[in-house]
């Protein structure tokens, strides 16, 4: 077992555990913090897979942006004791669904044989840069537009009616 494998299993375990905590913990804040840990673990996984830039982007955007945003949301919607109870009904059905889903995906994964060999080398960032400003230029520009649109949308949704 190489160092890479150990690192991977570590990252995998942390991410799974964090995800489970995130979806099952009754206390909201614990949930959100577990989510943050999960994001870090995923970033590690990216690193292991050789996507360095993506890993860093993950940390910047997700951890620094999304997680913080969600924390803001938690703070703004705070009310006494209401978040305490987040229990569910019929967890069995959800469990069954999730298990079926997992089973399917794992089965497919197990049967998958890649056509070409796996590259173990990390991807050079310059390749990424060239792709973004080359063949993927349209997507790149569109992302900008989408970001703008979503900012406007969010503003529009939370706007208070004038005169209230």
């Amino acid at each position: 077992m190489g160092a890479g494998d150990i690192l991977f299993f570590l990252a995998a375990a942390v991410s799974i555990a964090a995800a489970v905590v995130a979806v099952t913990d009754e206390r909201l804040l614990h949930s959100v913090l577990a989510f943050g840990v999960f994001l870090f673990a995923i970033a590690c996984a990216f690193l292991i897979m050789g996507a360095e830039f993506v890993a860093v982007a993950q940390i910047f955007v997700y951890v620094g942006g999304v997680a913080v945003l969600i924390l803001f949301g938690v703070m703004l919607t705070a009310s006494r004791g209401a978040q305490r109870t987040v229990e569910t009904e019929h967890p069995m059905w959800a469990m069954v669904c999730a298990l079926v889903l997992a089973g399917t995906l794992i089965a497919v994964a197990a049967a998958y044989r890649p056509a070409t060999a796996v590259q173990s080398r990390a991807v050079d960032v310059s390749l990424l840069g060239n792709a973004l400003l080359g063949p993927q230029l349209v997507g790149f520009e569109l992302i900008g537009l989408i970001l703008l649109a979503s900012v406007i949308a969010a503003l529009a949704v939370v706007r208070r009616e004038p005169g209230r």
Binding site: F8, F35, Y62, L76, I106
Partner: protein
Amino acid sequence: MTRFLVLSGLLLAIGAYGVMTRRNAICTLLGLEIMLNAGNLNLIAFSRVSPSPAVGQTFVLFSIGIAACEAAVGLALILAMWRRYRTVDIDKLVSLKE
């Protein structure tokens, strides 16, 4: 390679369970984000066996960007719901009930 796919599959299932199960709207959003991340993981895994790995990774970058947008809009909606109903319990949103 397989291990990454297995990991992403598991995470997807966990995320799905979270979406289906949680009552607090913010927690639902968390489950959704978990699913998105699982998807990203899957994409990176496949980009390693693809002839142009950069494409897969740019796709993931886009995905992260969009996830951020979606989180923003989602939280805006949750805020709006908070203002209107004074709760974020999605079980209270039943005006579409027949």
